[in-house]
Structures are given as structure tokens and as C-alpha cells.
Point group: C2
Chain length 228, copies 2
């Protein structure tokens, strides 16, 4: 029987690039690192993807498409159940962030590696990345926000938008810095195994996010003329 020469070059490249981008960023990763890491020829990336930027986009699309679809499905199902009634904030937050975090346990659909890549990349300085992510995310974030507007009718929309932003930040750090934490301050808490730690992360993060989302509204210091 013929031995398998290359178990799909494209996929090998994507896997390696995903990992390297996570560890060293886009600008910090060279094509030569990628190709030698994947055990393929240097020209393979340009042949299969055209350019380095296009490779990056492919890395994200491979994971984000399924994720965002799952998020929308979760939201759809909930709204179906609710039958016109507004959802609970906790449901919405779980549909968005919970679905994301749980993806980290699904090794075949990306696993922790992509999660951390995503967490880091949301603040990546490269122009094309942020615009790409913005485009790719826009519809989902919009849906998510609309649901929150409905669920929290007496919270000003501007406030909700900001808090979504804050939640994204907290989540990004939760994902990206599972070990960055350990660097900043050596600690000794919970020697529990990794799986366990990740499970708990989800619940920890969720209660933090919900606490922030439902926090009392800030009263701005000088009203400077009472509202009508």
C-alpha cells in the first residue's frame, strides 16, 4: 500500500501557522518558521494561500466560521424558546462567551491554541488583521448587542456597548493569559489538573462578566445641566 506522503499540506500549514502566530504574533513569525515547522517546502504557503496575510486570514476563517455559526444558532434557539420575550442577560452572555470558551475544550474545532491566538490578536497592531476581524465579527457582535438591548431595556445603549467592549477585554485576557498570569506573579493556588482549571475558568469568567454587565450605572460627576 502506498504510504501517505503528506497528510494534506494545507492543513499542516494551517496548524503550524496557528501555533506560531499564537506564540510570536503575525510580524514575529516568518514563512520559513512556518514551512519548516510544518515540514513542507518554503514555496508551499504561497502556492496554497498566495500570501502571508492570506494565510493568516485562512487560519482565522477555519475556526471563526464554525464558532460564529454556533453562537448564532445558540442565540436563535434561545429566542425561539422565549417566543418574543426578552432573554436573560446570562443566556446571551453564555451564547457568546460561553460558546467561545467551550470551543477551547473541543480540540478538533480549534482547541485552546486558537482561543489564545484570538485573544491576543484582538489587540494586534497590524492594520489588516483588525479590519479583517471587524468584518468577520461585525454581524455576530451586532446580533449579540441587539439581544442585550432588548434584555436590558432601561440601560442606555451606549452603556451596553461599552460593557460589551469591557467583556471582550476581560475574556481576551482570560483566554490569552492563562499562563501570563503565572509570569506576573508566581502563585501557588490550586495544583488542579489542566482540564479542571479550564472548566473553572468558564464559570469564573461568567460570573465576573455578568457582575460587570449588571453593575449599577455610573453617575457622571458634573451633570452640568439637569436632563429633561
Amino acid at each position: 500500500m502506498a504510504e501517505i506522503r503528506s497528510p494534506d499540506t494545507r492543513e499542516r500549514i494551517l496548524d503550524t501557522a496557528e501555533q506560531l502566530f499564537m506564540n510570536h504574533g503575525f510580524d514575529g513569525t516568518s514563512m520559513r518558521q512556518i514551512t519548516t515547522g510544518a515540514g513542507v517546502n518554503l514555496a508551499a504557503v504561497n502556492y496554497h494561500f498566495g500570501t502571508k496575510e492570506e494565510l493568516m486570514r485562512a487560519v482565522f476563517r477555519r475556526r471563526l466560521d464554525g464558532l460564529n455559526e454556533a453562537r448564532l444558532q445558540a442565540l436563535d434557539a434561545m429566542e425561539q424558546d422565549a417566543g418574543g420575550k426578552p432573554l436573560k442577560p446570562s443566556q446571551i452572555v453564555d451564547a457568546f462567551f460561553g460558546t467561545l470558551l467551550r470551543m477551547g475544550d473541543d480540540e478538533v474545532r480549534g482547541g485552546r491554541t486558537f482561543l489564545r491566538l484570538l485573544g491576543r490578536t484582538l489587540t494586534d497592531p497590524s492594520e489588516f488583521i483588525s479590519t479583517f476581524l471587524a468584518r468577520e465579527y461585525a454581524q455576530v457582535v451586532e446580533r449579540f448587542k441587539e439581544a442585550l438591548f432588548k434584555a436590558l431595556p432601561d440601560v442606555p445603549k451606549a452603556e451596553i456597548v461599552w460593557r460589551v467592549h469591557f467583556m471582550l477585554g476581560a475574556t481576551s485576557y482570560a483566554i490569552a493569559g492563562t499562563d501570563a498570569l503565572r509570569v506576573v506573579t508566581d502563585w501557588e493556588i490550586e495544583p488542579a489538573d489542566t482540564e479542571d482549571r479550564h472548566d473553572r475558568l468558564l464559570e469564573r469568567l461568567m460570573s465576573f462578566l455578568l457582575g460587570g454587565l449588571r453593575a449599577p450605572l455610573p453617575q457622571f460627576s458634573p451633570p452640568s445641566g439637569a436632563a429633561p
Copy 2:
């Protein structure tokens, strides 16, 4: 009269580097961009700072030293006032994050540019940056956490550590993405002037952070064998 040739080359380099690093990241910024942007010779950076990495460190130190000192002073003053009694969480959060955010208004001590650079850099993939920041931050974060441990004696320390991490993430996004938000979703809220928007950011963020910090503790799903 002799005209001023170069109003301190070092400072011009630091200013330009700070801005470029913020916009394009460390790897995405070249020495030639920096030097031509600052209007100095290419070799000036290596002469004054030695290496590109050392320049980056200088950029951070110039701002972080003062900031962290101010944070510690704020905390010291509060603890002085309290006289042994634990502080209120809101005080501690303000001493750490409030001092940071207010730095954005102080154009002479860094201004918004450095704030955004810092926000982005906390998730930077470059190894030397994270280790540098970890070292530079360690003492302050430690002090801050200790204060929180005292202020919230019945919250498990592990939980507090995580929530500090989440708060850092939310703050990082609050700072870095004041306009990234506008990209993700075009909105129309509050045409208020910039100064005003930034003032409000502080208050918005603070109530979100405190809401998250004081959120009810998560109860972990399957105890998998009842606790003793």
C-alpha cells in the same frame, strides 16, 4: 543667536517610538521609521539606547516609573488614613486603575498615546516585552492584590487573582480600543467632545470593574464527589 538644532534627540526618539509602537507594534515598527519620523539620523537610536529592544524598554520606563510610583503613593495614603482597617475595594481599584486612566489626561506624563501602547502591549507576543513588563509590574500588582485580599477577606484568594486578571483585560481594551470599538460597529452614540468621552470612560469602567469584582462567587458545576 544659535538656533536650536535638536531639542533633545533622545526625547524626540522616545516620543516617535512611543507613537509608532502604539500604531504598528514592536515588530511592525522599523528603526528607519522611528529615526526619520523623529528627524534624526538612523544611527541615533543605537547610539543613545544601544538596541531596539533597549529603546522599547526606555519608552516604557519613562512612563511606567512615574505611574507605578503614583499608584503606590495613592495606596499608601489610603492605608495611612484607614489606620489598619481594610480599605474599600473601590478605593483600591481606583488607586490602581483610576490612577492609570487619569494618566491619559496628563499629556505631559504620557497622555493617551502611552496608555494605548500599554493596553496593546500587555498581550504582545514578543517574549522580552512580557518578561520586562512582568518584572516592572510585579511589585505593584503584588501590593495591589494584597490590599484586595485584606479588603475582601471572605473571597478566596484564587478568585481575587483571577478577577484582577479580568479587570486588567477589561481596562486594556477600554484603553486600547477606544476607536477599535468604532470599527467593529459603526454607531452614533454621543457626539460629545473627546475630553468628555474620556472622563466618562473612567467612570464607566470603574463601575464595570467593581461590579465584576464584587460579583457573587461562581459555584462550580459538578463537585464530582461531595466536599467534606
